[in-house]
Amino acid sequence: MILHGFLPALLEGALVTLGLGLSSLLLACLLGLAGALGKLSRSRTARAIAQVYTTLIRGVPDLILLLLIFYGGQLAVNSLSEALGSANDVEIDPWTAGVLTIGFIFGAYMTEVFRGAFLAVPPGQREAGLAFGMSPWLVLRRITLPQMLRHALPGLSNNWLVLIKSTAIVSVIGLSDLMTRGQQAAGTTREPFSFYLAVALIYLMLTSVSEMLFGQLRRRLET
């Protein structure tokens, strides 16, 4: 029997990993857009907040941030519900903590990606839109954003490849992702090497397929 019948469990874990990765990527893109607009904004406060966000996040390991958000967030939510007079404790589930942490971390990296991409759009484009009588918001939506995304693609694909591998650390807070499933199977069968090797190969497949898809997308946008 292949992997003592644990293959379906591993593949299920891979789906969890993929879902977690995609949800985090979505959050990271939203935060990254906000961060990039903040960094390029005229408001000094917005620039300062964005600068502190990217500097702090990039100076601390993801594992520390994950543990801080999981355990610290739990404590904060508990004392908040206590203060509101609620008797039952609210649990932060590992999924939420995982998405929040990974999304929050990669939001900082995506801020830099989007900032560079915004700057790569010729300023004349924006000015033409404004001269045409569009509101700044409409110019952003119809002109700057669509053109910026093309420049952001290489950075986005790089960050996605790092992100999907980073999700392996959520096993430490008990989310049953690919890594956790591998650990469980390794413990039950006492064949850690076979299972960690299988886990590694599944991760390699995820990154290889991602790289292929991004390559195709890039070629399509170039022509």
Partner: protein, 227 residues
């Protein structure tokens, strides 16, 4: 914030920081030594380059945590390893952490250096050849100095990634900065105190690394780029 308890535990954090630094310096140093010859081979064509590509592809395409577990927990599956003379090494978490960090950073560094070698301006090589330099002299005097300097910005990113990557050592029972913070939290259930203290240490270490690499770039890279 329970400042008294943080202060009481500061010596433990300093010990943890020392282990973090030790893991970082060992893996970066050995990784650097291994990556230079590998990058030279990788930048050419042929079977050696393809073999090295396979190694860097696998190690860059999988999480470092899996690599660490594969070495530390995985190798114990084989009786041949457990009965061999090397078992004292492979049963030590410290050794396995170093080994997996070295293998991982070597893969990334090799690709960074190989990319820099491939991107060297052809004119520099032609000039060296025209001067009558042999391949080895050219490598030592032209290719390596120029490529390693140009690789500095990308390499400094890799070094910072490795600093943060060493936090995985806590997953195999080592008491590095993260390990100390996790024990502090488990003993006192003070997550903010435990992890923010560790974060401050990591942040300070990151700033030191950034400063160090900025100075290295100012000394070796800037003079080469300015006309």
């Amino acid at each position: 914030m329970n400042w008294a308890l943080i202060q009481e535990n500061l010596p433990r954090y300093f010990h943890g920081a020392l282990l973090t630094l030790e893991l970082l310096v060992i893996s970066l140093l050995i990784g650097l030594i291994l990556a230079v010859p590998l990058a030279i081979l990788r930048a050419r064509t042929g079977w050696a380059s393809r073999t090295i590509w396979l190694y860097t592809y696998v190690f860059r395409g999988t999480p470092m945590l899996v690599q660490l577990f594969l070495i530390y927990y995985g190798l114990a599956q084989f009786d041949a390893v457990r009965e061999s003379a090397a078992w004292p090494l492979f049963s030590s978490a410290w050794f396995c952490a170093c080994l997996s960090f070295i293998l991982n950073t070597t893969a990334y560094t090799t690709e960074i250096f190989a990319g820099a070698i491939r991107a060297l301006p052809q004119g520099e090589m032609e000039a060296a050849r025209a001067m009558g330099m042999g391949p080895l002299v050219m490598l030592r005097r032209i290719v390596l100095p120029a490529a390693l300097r140009r690789a500095l910005p990308a390499y400094s990113n890799e070094a910072i990634f490795m600093l943060h990557g060493t936090s995985l050592a806590s997953m195999v029972t080592l008491m590095d900065l993260t390990g100390v913070a996790r024990v502090f939290n488990a003993d006192n259930y003070l997550p903010f105190e435990a992890f923010i203290t560790a974060a401050v240490f990591y942040f300070a270490l990151t700033l030191c690394l950034v400063g160090l690499f900025n100075r290295a770039e100012a000394r070796w890279l800037k003079p080469m780029l300015s006309p």
